[in-house]
C-alpha cells in the first residue's frame, strides 16, 4: 500500500499547493506555473501545440517546458500520469468500482492501445492547421485541475463523465487508450532512468502484478524473461511492486550501465 498512499498524498498535495499556496511560492496551474517567482515550469506537450499553432515560442515558456521535458524524459519517465495528473484519481477510482462491482469488459467497445498515438499525431497536425492548441481546448485534465485550483463546480460533471466512461464503458479507456498527453509522456520516457527492475529467479508467477497494472502490456515478459520493465508506457505507479509478495519487482534508478539485465 505504501506507493498507493504516497501517490495519493503527492497528487492531492500538488493540487492543494496550486490552490492554496501563497503566490510567492507558486502561481498558475499544471499547464504552466511559476515557482518562487523565478522558476517557470510548463507542460511540454502544450508548449509544442502552441509552437505549432503560432509558429513562435516565448522564452520563459520554452525554458519551463524544457525543464519538465528533461525531468520526465531523463529521470522519471511517465510518472506524471501516476503521480501528478488529477485524472488518475478519477480513473483509479473508476477501476476500483469496476473491480468491486465485478463488471466485465464490454464486448462492443474494444479500443487499441495505439489509438492514443494516433490522437497525439492528430492533435499536433490539427494544432498546426487550425492554429490553435487543439488538445488544450478540450483537455479534461485542464478542466478538472483548473476547476480544483480556481474553484467552481462545472468541472465535477466532466470528472463524472470520465468516471462513467472508465467504469462502465471501457476499462482504462481515458488514460491508457485515449489520452494524447499520456501518449506524449510515454513517447519521451523510453530512456528515462527510473525503471521497474524484475527478477525472474524470485518470481513465483502469481501474476498479481499483471492483474493490477493499468498498462498491462508493459509487463508482458513477466514469468518468461529476465528483463526490466523498459516500455515508456509504464507509468511508474509502483502498484506491481507493492502487490508482489516475492520481492521480484523493485524500483531502480541508476540502471543505465547495466544494460537491461
Amino acid at each position: 500500500m505504501r506507493y498507493l498512499i504516497a501517490r495519493r498524498i503527492v497528487q492531492i498535495a500538488i493540487l492543494a499547493l496550486f490552490a492554496f499556496a501563497p503566490s510567492a511560492l507558486v502561481m498558475g496551474n499544471l499547464s504552466s506555473s511559476l515557482w518562487f517567482n523565478t522558476i517557470p515550469l510548463s507542460d511540454p506537450f502544450a508548449a509544442l501545440q502552441i509552437f505549432l499553432a503560432s509558429l513562435s515560442i516565448d522564452l520563459s515558456l520554452l525554458a519551463g517546458a524544457l525543464l519538465i521535458f528533461l525531468l520526465y524524459g531523463i529521470f522519471l519517465g511517465r510518472a506524471f500520469c501516476a503521480w501528478v495528473c488529477p485524472i488518475n484519481l478519477i480513473t483509479d477510482f473508476a477501476s476500483f468500482v469496476r473491480q468491486k462491482m465485478g463488471l466485465r469488459a464490454s464486448k462492443f467497445i474494444i479500443l487499441s492501445k495505439n489509438l492514443r498515438y494516433l490522437i497525439l499525431i492528430l492533435t499536433l497536425v490539427l494544432s498546426f492547421i487550425l492554429s490553435q492548441p487543439v488538445f488544450e481546448a478540450f483537455s479534461y485534465i485542464g478542466i478538472v485541475q483548473r476547476g480544483v485550483i480556481f474553484g467552481g463546480f462545472s468541472w465535477a460533471f466532466v470528472g463524472f463523465v470520465i468516471f462513467v466512461i472508465d467504469a462502465f464503458l471501457a476499462s482504462r479507456a481515458v488514460c491508457s487508450h485515449f489520452c494524447p498527453l499520456g501518449a506524449f509522456y510515454a513517447f519521451i520516457s523510453r530512456y528515462a532512468l527510473l525503471k521497474v527492475r524484475y527478477h525472474l529467479s524470485k518470481c513465483t508467477k502469481c501474476f498479481k502484478c499483471v492483474e493490477i497494472c493499468p498498462e498491462r502490456q508493459v509487463l508482458a515478459h513477466i514469468g518468461k524473461e529476465q528483463k526490466n520493465v523498459l516500455s515508456g508506457e509504464c507509468i511508474r505507479c509502483g502498484r506491481c511492486i507493492e502487490v508482489c509478495d516475492d520481492d521480484a519487482l523493485e524500483f531502480s534508478i541508476f540502471d543505465i550501465r547495466r544494460k537491461n539485465v
Partner: protein, 248 residues
Amino acid sequence: MKNRRDFFKTSFKTLCLCGGASFLASLALEAKEEYFLRPPGAEDEERFLSLCIRCGLCVDACPYDTLKLASVLDAAKTGTPFFEARKIPCYLCKDIPCIKECPTNALDNKHLAPDKGIESLQMGIAIVDSASCVAHWGIQCDACYRACPLIDRALKIETKRNERTAKHALLLPVVDHEVCVGCGLCELACITQEPAIRVLPRTYVLGKAGDNYIKGWDRDDENRLKESSTKKKFDSKKATQYLNDGDL
C-alpha cells in the same frame, strides 16, 4: 436479470451512463452568444487563442481579482481568462502585471514597452445607451465621467440645451473611441439598475469605412490621392458604343 444484486448493478450503470450522456448533450446543445472581455494585451482574439496555454498566471497576477478562467459553462473558450466589467473592471495597473506574468506572450508584451503603457490597450469600447442614461433625461449625473481613468479624453462631457425645461443644460457623457481602452470602470460606476454605459468587445462595436473614402482635411490621408492612378478601368468608348454592341 438473475437476482436483485444484478438488477441494482445494471440500473446503477444505466443511470450513470444516462447522466453522463445528458451532461455531454447539454454541453453540445448549449449555444452561448454572450459577450466577454479579454484581459489587457489580448486584442486579436485569434492570435490570443493560438497562444494561450490556459495556465491562469494572469489570474493569479491580477491584484484586483478581475480576471477569471472560463469554466465549461462560460461563453469564453474553457480555461481562457476573461472579465466582467460590471462585477470587477480592469483597474489599469501601471505595470500591467497580467501581461508581465503571461508565459506565452498571449497577452502581448508590446504594451510593456515604456512608450506604450496602459493607454495602448484595447480591451473594448464603452457604449452609452442614451435611452436609459439619466444624464440624457436631464438628471445631473457624471458618475462614469468621474470614474474614467482617462477623464476628458476617453470620456468627455458634452453640454446641450435642455429643451424641456428651457433653462438647464444636459451634461451628456460621450466616448471617444480612439482613446477608450475598455477598462470598464465607467460601467461599474454607472448608477442605473442595469448599466447605461457598457464596455463591449471592439469587434462588436466598431465599423469600417473602407479605404475608398479619403479625408480631404487630413494631409496624410490626402496624399493617397497622389499615388493612385487614374488611368485604370476608364474606357471612354464604352459609354458611347454600348448601344451599337447589342448587349442590351
